[in-house]
């Protein structure tokens, strides 16, 4: 009986909308003035939430700020969060002064006009290895400098290989690796574990095999690409690799290897510290290319970038901060803390001198390629999505490697 009159609802919602849009207006005007804090405080965002202010990285950031004569306010985000946070901040003209960013995202943010080029921010990239700088170069311009790289190699369990009669030094081609897996399997042990999950991680792990076959990202359906997918799907069919790889992240794949039941694992530099704690003898070898040699693995790791600011005068100080963070001495400390390979030859040599075990990783880093290189830029995410989709379709048996890749190529165009 006491019903609200019908007009009230539309009126109330109109009022609500009006309030909302005026709020939105306040919101954007307020934040554009609040950009980046005061002149003496610079902001830095990084994907290292695991490091607090007292960690070596945290102290390095503070020290570089002090040297540049400013105070740095540092915030660590989860890697997957950082892209959208940076995009939103840039939309509100509130981007940080210095942004440490996962390398395949650099092209996306550069495309969005969020990042300054090295012409504007004056960062010197001359000492960086060209293949490691590639992920930050789009259309002939450079958008940052790598702070360190990580890449993939094969970890192996020495005890299992010994009992199966496999000499790790012989694993130099796909045929040799598959033969080694057969021997391990015959000895009753598990073969190899990797990550073929339906995310960027899956593509990251597949690329060494894809590139190692000589395939190119511009043509997913080539015969060479098919041979790489076939290699993996045959391993699954023969039981050399567990079915769980289809859902494995790199972390879960590592956990499988850490049980000590697997002969090989494809994983990254960042697991070295965990490998030492695994409680069994392990070794590392570079991922072999199809017919021998080292396969190019994709480069992982972050770039230090300088986002666009309204007040372009801030770039001078930002440049000082970036130069300090990426100076030879600091790179060595940072990359040791992150368990990364340094992006410059001289620091790489120092790293190997201090820890000969890193030789394999430095070699892998020298052979590595940027995923967004070849001027793919923002075309890469689209291709990558089709690539991991095709790998999953082939591994689950839903499609043959050939059909899966043909479908992927036509969708990626």
């Amino acid at each position: 009986m006491i019903r609200a009159p019908r007009w009230r609802i539309p009126v109330a919602s109109l009022a609500a909308l009006a309030v909302a849009s005026s709020l939105a207006a306040c919101g954007s005007s307020a934040s554009s003035t609040g950009s980046s804090g005061s002149a003496g405080t610079y902001t830095l965002w990084d994907p290292y939430p695991q490091f607090d202010g007292a960690s070596p990285w945290g102290r390095l950031v503070d020290g570089c700020g002090a040297r540049a004569g400013v105070k740095i306010k540092r915030t660590g985000f989860d890697t997957s969060d950082l892209t959208s946070k940076a995009l939103l901040a840039a939309q509100q003209a509130d981007a940080p002064d210095v942004l440490v960013l996962d390398n395949p995202v650099v092209s996306t943010l550069a495309e969005a006009g969020v990042l300054t080029t090295t012409d504007e921010n004056r960062i010197n990239t001359s000492r960086v290895e060209p293949n490691l700088l590639a992920a930050g170069r789009i259309g002939g311009k450079t958008y940052g400098t790598p702070i360190g790289v990580n890449t993939l190699a094969l970890f192996y369990n020495k005890k299992i290989l010994r009992s199966a009669g496999v000499d790790p030094a012989s694993v130099k081609s796909w045929a040799a690796l598959t033969a080694a897996l057969a021997k391990v399997r015959a000895a009753g042990k598990k073969g190899i574990t990797f990550s073929a999950i339906g995310t960027e991680e899956g593509s990251f792990q597949f690329l060494p095999w894809f590139w190692g076959a000589g395939a190119r990202l511009t043509d997913l359906s080539s015969q060479r690409a098919v041979s790489a997918v076939t290699l993996w799907s045959d391993w699954l069919k023969k039981g050399y690799a567990p079915n769980s790889v289809i859902n494995n992240s790199q972390t879960t794949s590592w956990q499988e290897f850490a049980t000590g039941a697997y002969a090989f694992a494809e994983n990254g530099t960042w697991e070295l510290a965990n490998a030492r704690k695994a409680g069994f003898d392990y070794g590392t070898l570079a991922i072999p290319a199809a017919s021998g040699g080292t396969a190019p693995a994709p480069t992982g790791g972050e770039f230090v970038t300088v986002p666009v600011q309204k007040d372009t005068g801030r770039y001078t100080t930002s440049d000082k901060i970036v130069t300090c963070l990426t100076s030879a001495k600091n790179l060595l400390a940072t990359d040791t803390a992150l368990s990364y390979v340094a992006p410059t030859k001289s620091v790489q040599a120092q790293q190997v001198g201090a820890d000969p075990e890193l030789t394999v990783w430095v070699r892998a880093a020298r052979a590595a390629r940027g995923r967004t290189g070849d001027n793919l830029g923002t075309a890469y995410p689209k291709i990558s999505k089709q690539l991991w989709g095709a790998v999953q379709a082939a591994l689950t048996g839903a499609k043959s490697p050939k059909d899966a890749l043909a479908a992927a190529q036509s969708a990626a165009k």
Binding site: L109, E111, G198, N243
Partner: protein, 329 residues
């Protein structure tokens, strides 16, 4: 409403109507009789304002932004720099034409319908079971709430460990029975089953609690009367319990529907919607489009999100209509 409508009419009356109009100028208030309802209305708006502002800021504005996102052609560049061109329903057309659309719709419908059915059936069975008080019934009932209290990340990760093809406890148990291992999370034909199973487990306590409280409101005298009429337990359930539980059931199912439609975390943690999109629902698809890839596609992502909102809205309206019919009759 009626009084205010009449007032201007009275004002417009020629001043020659002395007996009626005369006192007003002297009291200085044509406003006086008016002030009452109008100021009351202002006060009402004053009280309403906090709620309206809250609704506007946290409901209307996000919805408006989402609609706006879905109607424009956003690239990362125009997202940051502004000036995304209005593209009408292009994002929706793109989503409808996407090869993921039909499978995602099927998975959403299957996931929701199967989850709701089993959650409700199990919840009702347990509610009836616990309605007979016995020793430890309260403790047991409390234990059944555990899935609800656990953070989703914990329960979803636990499920994904249990269902692991090679080292999962479920396949180990199947092995003892002599059954072959099932690729719960890595086979396109099982992944949707697995995430639905986990979702049912998580949803049972919610149904149990609501239906149990519904059972408490059914007077015991009805059961006594039914017993005197010589009904058996089965008849008592179908003739007394079930019909009287209908309003509670309806709201339980509606809330369950809204929750289930937007279930995202369980699927994302367990399978990422894969392998090959075999467990992708609208919720995970929308997330993947907007945030899951290196290059975000905000427009299509928002369009898929809006489709979900629309579906939930349709069922909400159906529920309100059904309820109104019930109270009217």
């Amino acid at each position: 409403m009626n009084t205010t409508a009449r007032m201007p009419h009275a004002d417009a009356a020629p001043s020659g109507h002395a007996p009626v109009a005369a006192p007003r100028p002297f009291t200085g208030g044509t406003g006086r009789p008016r002030r009452g309802p109008r100021s009351r209305q202002w006060t009402a708006w004053g009280f309403l304002l906090p709620v309206v502002a809250y609704l506007a800021a946290f409901y209307a504005y996000p919805l408006y932004r989402n609609a706006d996102l879905s109607l424009r052609d956003y690239t990362v560049r125009s997202f940051v720099q502004g000036g995304a061109p209005f593209s009408g329903l292009a994002n929706y057309r793109k989503v409808f034409a996407d090869p993921t659309f039909v499978p995602a719709l099927e998975h959403t419908v299957l996931f929701t319908a199967v989850s709701l059915f089993f959650q409700y059936a199990a919840g009702l069975a347990l509610a009836v079971f616990f309605n007979h008080h016995f020793r430890l019934s309260t403790t047991l009932r409390a234990l059944f709430l555990v899935p609800w209290l656990l953070p989703l990340i914990v329960s979803a990760s636990t499920w994904s460990w249990m269902l692991n093809s090679d080292s999962g406890v479920v396949n180990a148990a199947l092995g003892w029975w002599g059954a072959g291992p099932v690729d719960w999370l890595t086979s396109p034909s099982w992944s949707l089953v697995s995430v639905t199973l986990a979702n049912v487990w998580i949803g049972v306590p919610f149904n149990l609690v609501l239906l149990y409280s519904g059972l408490q409101t059914i007077p015991g005298s009805l059961y006594e009367a039914a017993a005197l009429d010589g009904t058996n337990a089965w008849q008592r359930f179908w003739r007394v319990t079930f019909p009287l539980l209908r309003p509670v059931s309806a709201i339980t199912l509606l809330l369950g529907l809204v929750y289930t439609l937007k279930v995202f975390d369980i699927i994302w943690i367990m399978t990422k919607g894969g392998p090959s999109d075999s467990s992708t629902t609208f919720a995970t698809w929308s997330y993947r489009l907007g945030f899951g890839d290196l290059l975000p596609q905000f427009g299509p992502g928002a369009a898929v999100g809006n489709l979900l909102v629309l579906i939930a809205l349709v069922f909400g309206l159906l529920h309100i209509r059904a309820q109104r019919k019930q109270t009217d009759s």
